[in-house]
Structures are given as structure tokens and as C-alpha cells.
């Protein structure tokens, strides 16, 4: 069966907008262009009605109340607002002093969580960065062991963006509630893919963005719990007091309407998509690991997202590999694909050796991914790895029986 190339297997980076989402958005650029803050005329009311509907659609997907939904520009802003907003609200000592409170996070969070935590550490808060075990899953037991009397916030991602592993979020949430500690989760890779209920799952604050679930870019959500317990935040930007004073700035009405529609569609379709994609993911993993030697699927065998897999291929380099299969669009933990020249800190955090971290690919499918595309991609990956292993001095040396870790490499 022929397939149309290029094939997009990078849905964890971003997804296309669903045409139904675009359709829902369009009137809000032209006819219903009003500012929802305009309380005294019909243009404002129409825009506000669009936003209100979206708020309900988002709340329904999360099992929350519409009053608990704050619209932002994306998950990065939501994470910043949650983490810094909580830290400044619940601080134990004022700015300029030390001992302002303890925060728990992990080493494999997205930069949009790590960097706010690092900033707070410079400002007098203390931060514990939990290190995941080899399977990548942060457990409630790990969090429990790190808790202190002055812990004010635990912030852990629901599912990891590079390897798709799923942390013990409901259990960690229960622990935090028992101890009266605020619990935030960056659920950017989770929401819209997996069932979410902030009551059942004991979440106080939850971030995600529209463009990972077939909505538009530039719009995101922060869920802020209002009851049991009521969570308060210090706003990070001053202005018109929109979004219950937590996020000033005129609302991105078309974006919000699109995000709402995307949430409604996800609620209807995610179970079916998830089941189908899990089969395809298993097919990729099974095919690649059975046809190629020296490769491994990274992260826990089962506690992973259905649509995403991260595979390391020994003795080949990730960017070179992507170039050899350029009609299959994926991403890599390789340094060469980033400006930093550092291999993935997430894979390093799992204890994957540097050389395997350089040789890893992340394949993330979406709801439009077909089995024919997956079959084609498997062939391209296998032949690309084989091609590059013919070129690889490391593969030769390994087959010759040389222990690569015993060689004194010249480091640049």
C-alpha cells in the first residue's frame, strides 16, 4: 500500500488543528470579534458567550467546574503561573530571605517547570529534584520520602514528553492532600489523550496547551482548584484583572473557542484513538526490536502513553539517523538536533548512557496516523539504522569484541 510522504510522527511536539476546531474558531475572528471584557454591548456578550462555552468544554474534560479554568497563552505560562504563583502565595518568609519554603519536582520535567523552580531556588526557596528510577516513573513513595515540614508545593508532570512514562499522579495527589501541600501537574502530554478527573486524581493545579490536542497554538489552560482546598495564587502580570485576577490580558477569544472545541472532541474520541494507537505503538516496538540488534525501548514497559515511543539504537547517531529517513518526521534525543549540543537530559536522567541518548528517536503518533504509515516508517527506520551501522566504527569495534567504555576517547 502506498503512503503519502512526508509522514508526521512528531505529534508530541505539536498536532495539526482539527478542521472542526478551525471551523469553530473562524466566526470569532470576524463577526464575533468583540472583547469579552466589553460588558455593555452585544459584541462583548457574543465573545463572552464563546469563551463561556469553551470554559465549560474544558472543565468537562477535566472533571472540573468552569470557574476553575484560567486561560493562558500556553502550558509554559500555565506552569510559570502555577509554580511561582503558589510559591509567592504560600511562602514561609518574605522576599530577600532564605528558608522561604520547600518545593519538590523531578529532574525529567519540561524546561517550563525546571526553570521556574531553579529561579525560585535562587530567590530563597529550596527545591528537591527527584531522580526517576530506570523505568522513568516517579512514585508516591519517592515523593513521600522527600516531604519536609516546610514543603509548600509538589510539581510533577503527568506524562513525560520525551519517553511518555506516566507518573503516579493520583497517589501523589492523595499524599499531598493528606499533608496539606499544594499539588501541581504539568499535564501537557496527558490531557486529551488519557482520561482525567481532577477530583478522582487529587490534582490542585493542572497545566496544558491547546496545540497538543488538535487545538490552536498560543492558548493554554491552568486549572486552579476552588474547593477542598481552595488554592490561591499571586498573579505574575498586572493589568485588567481578567481570569479572576490571576491572568490579566485581553482573552484570545478565537484560540479559546478552538481549545474548547478540541477538548470536546477529545472527550468523544480519545478512548477510540488511544486503543488504536496503542496497537500501532506495540507494532513499531515489536518490529524494530525484533529486526535490529542493540536497540531498546526507553521507559516503563506498560506505564506509558499509548501514542508515543522512544527507542535507542546502539552505535548510530540520532541526527544522522533522522537524515537517513527524512520523509518520516520524528524527533531525537541527539545533541545535534538542538543548539545546546547536549544529549537529552531526560534520557540521561533515566541512566541511559550518553551514547544511547545520542542514538534515540521519539516517535509520536496522532489520530490521523494510519497503519500503512506506521508500516512504511518501520521499513525506513530499519533500513536507516542498517545503513548507518555499515558506516559506524563503533559497531565494528563492538563486533570485534572491543569494550567501548574502556577506550580513552579524546573529548572535545
Amino acid at each position: 500500500m502506498s503512503v503519502k510522504t512526508p509522514i508526521y510522527l512528531d505529534n508530541a511536539a505539536t498536532t495539526p488543528c482539527d478542521p472542526r476546531v478551525v471551523e469553530a474558531m473562524l466566526p470569532y475572528f470576524t463577526n464575533d470579534f468583540g472583547n469579552p471584557g466589553s460588558r455593555n454591548h452585544v459584541f462583548g456578550w457574543n465573545a463572552e458567550a464563546g469563551v463561556d462555552k469553551a470554559r465549560e468544554q474544558v472543565a468537562a474534560l477535566l472533571g472540573a467546574s468552569d470557574k476553575e479554568i484560567i486561560f493562558t497563552s500556553g502550558a509554559t505560562e500555565s506552569n510559570n503561573l502555577a509554580i511561582k504563583g503558589v510559591a509567592y502565595m504560600y511562602e514561609k518568609a518574605p522576599a530577600g530571605s532564605t528558608g522561604r519554603g520547600h518545593i519538590i519536582t523531578s529532574t525529567i520535567e519540561h524546561k517550563a517547570v525546571l526553570d521556574p523552580c531553579k529561579r525560585l531556588a535562587k530567590e530563597g526557596f529550596e527545591v528537591t529534584f527527584l531522580e526517576p528510577p530506570k523505568d522513568g516513573v516517579i512514585t508516591a513513595a519517592q515523593v513521600k520520602a522527600a516531604l519536609r515540614p516546610d514543603t509548600i508545593l509538589v510539581t510533577l508532570m503527568w506524562a513525560n514528553n520525551e519517553i511518555g512514562t506516566i507518573n503516579e499522579i493520583p497517589e501523589i495527589g492523595a499524599l499531598c492532600h493528606e499533608k496539606g501541600i499544594v499539588f501541581h501537574t504539568d499535564a501537557t502530554q496527558w490531557v486529551g489523550k488519557m482520561p482525567t478527573n481532577v477530583e478522582r486524581d487529587n490534582v490542585d493545579l493542572l497545566s496544558f496547551s491547546g496545540h497538543k490536542l488538535y487545538g490552536p497554538k498560543g492558548v493554554g489552560v491552568l486549572y486552579v482548584r476552588r474547593k477542598k482546598p481552595r488554592v490561591r495564587l499571586v498573579a505574575l502580570q498586572d493589568g485588567g484583572g481578567q481570569e479572576r485576577n490571576m491572568r490579566s490580558g485581553t482573552l484570545n477569544v478565537p484560540g479559546i473557542v478552538g481549545l474548547g472545541k478540541a477538548c470536546e472532541l477529545a472527550m468523544q474520541e480519545m478512548d477510540r484513538d488511544g486503543e488504536r494507537l496503542l496497537k500501532l505503538r506495540k507494532k513499531i516496538e515489536q518490529a524494530v526490536t525484533s529486526r535490529l540488534d542493540y536497540c531498546q525501548v526507553n521507559g516503563h514497559a506498560d506505564k506509558r502513553l499509548p501514542h508515543l515511543t522512544n527507542i535507542s539504537f546502539g552505535f548510530v547517531e540520532g541526527e544522522g539517523l533522522m537524515m537517513a529517513m527524512k520523509d518520516v518526521c520524528v524527533s531525537s534525543g541527539s545533541a545535534c538536533t538542538s543548539a545546546s549540543l547536549e544529549p537529552s537530559y531526560v534520557l540521561k536522567g533515566l541512566g541511559v548512557g550518553d551514547e544511547l541518548a545520542h542514538s534515540s528517536l521519539r516517535l509520536s503518533m496522532g489520530k490521523s496516523t494510519t497503519e500503512a504509515e506506521v508500516d512504511y516508517s518501520i521499513e525506513r527506520i530499519v533500513s536507516a539504522v542498517q545503513k548507518l551501522r555499515v558506516l559506524s566504527p563503533l559497531y565494528d569495534m563492538h563486533k570485534e569484541g572491543i569494550d567501548l567504555s574502556k577506550i580513552e576517547w579524546a573529548h572535545h
Binding site: 552505535f315 548510530v316 547517531e317 540520532g318 541526527e319 544522522g320 537524515m323 537517513a324 541527539s334 545533541a335 545535534c336 538536533t337 543548539a339 549540543l341 544529549p343 548512557g353 550518553d354 551514547e355 545520542h358 555499515v390 558506516l391 559506524s392 566504527p393 563503533l394 565494528d396 569495534m397 570485534e400 572491543i402 567501548l404 576517547w409 579524546a410 573529548h411 572535545h412
Partner: protein, 150 residues
């Protein structure tokens, strides 16, 4: 990263891939010089082997293998092409900037050309050492792009 046509050509049709024997075999061969540079954890390892015609003192053949990105593969492929037919001194005169210019390497990939120059020098030095010739100091006079242009 979008690459120029010469990098893509060398990447897709790499010249002179291979070796003149295993690590153990080439160690004992006096007509072969081996340069192995880079490190797996840095994401780049190049192996360059030269075969010297001991009557003429010229490089009769060159082979490479490379673990690395497209630019690293292209740089080492081009290096083998250039080395063939050159004397050892001419080989030593190849500069990383020559490779950068020929392949139009983007600034973030300059280090790939540096590695290729290192591999050339290491292979020639290995040959000289095996044959009791004097090895000049390996000076690190690579021409990097100034940081501001990166």
C-alpha cells in the same frame, strides 16, 4: 537543519566507506595509518585510515567510518577523497576551514570539520610513528567561527 546539496550528496553517497582491516589487524600493518577521534558520548566518532604507497610516500587509498550527524559523515567522506594521491605533508596541510568552505557547513557544525582535520592528523601521525618518522606536535590551530556569528 536544512543542509546544502554537497553535504547531502556526501551523506547519501558517502565515498570510501570501510577499513583496511580490524583494529587488531591494522595495528600491525606498517603501510596503514589509523586515526580514531571523537567520543561516543559527544555524539561523534570518526575513524580514518590511510594506506601509504611506501615507494612513493603518497597516500594511495583512504577509508572512513563515522558515528555522527550528517555533517560529520560528509566531512569525513570528503576528507578521504582529498587525501588520495597526496603526500603526507600535503595531507597535513588540509584545514578544517577548507572542508567548511567546500561543504558549506553551517556554523553549528564547524566542530564536525574540526574533528575531520583531527582524524587526518591522527592517521598520518599513526603512520609516521609506525615507521619511525618524526611526528610534529599536533597544534590546535583550528579556525573556529567567532562566537558572535553562531
Amino acid at each position: 537543519m536544512a543542509y546544502g546539496p554537497k553535504i547531502i550528496d556526501h551523506y547519501e553517497n558517502p565515498r570510501n566507506v570501510g577499513n583496511f582491516g580490524t583494529q587488531a589487524e591494522t595495528k600491525t600493518r606498517k603501510d596503514i595509518g589509523v586515526g580514531l577521534v571523537g567520543a561516543p558520548e559527544c555524539g561523534d566518532v570518526m575513524q580514518l585510515q590511510i594506506k601509504v604507497d611506501q615507494a612513493t610516500g603518497k597516500i594511495a587509498d583512504a577509508k572512513f567510518k563515522c558515528f555522527g550527524c550528517g555533517s560529520a559523515i560528509a566531512s569525513s567522506s570528503l576528507a578521504t577523497e582529498w587525501l588520495k594521491g597526496k603526500t603526507l605533508d600535503e595531507g597535513m596541510a588540509i584545514r578544517n576551514t577548507d572542508l567548511v568552505q567546500e561543504l558549506s557547513l553551517p556554523p553549528v557544525k564547524i566542530h564536525c570539520s574540526v574533528l575531520a582535520e583531527d582524524a587526518i592528523k591522527a592517521a598520518i601521525a599513526d603512520y609516521k610513528t609506525k615507521n619511525g618518522m618524526e611526528v610534529e606536535d599536533h597544534d590546535h590551530d583550528h579556525d573556529h567561527q567567532p562566537a558572535a556569528t553562531r
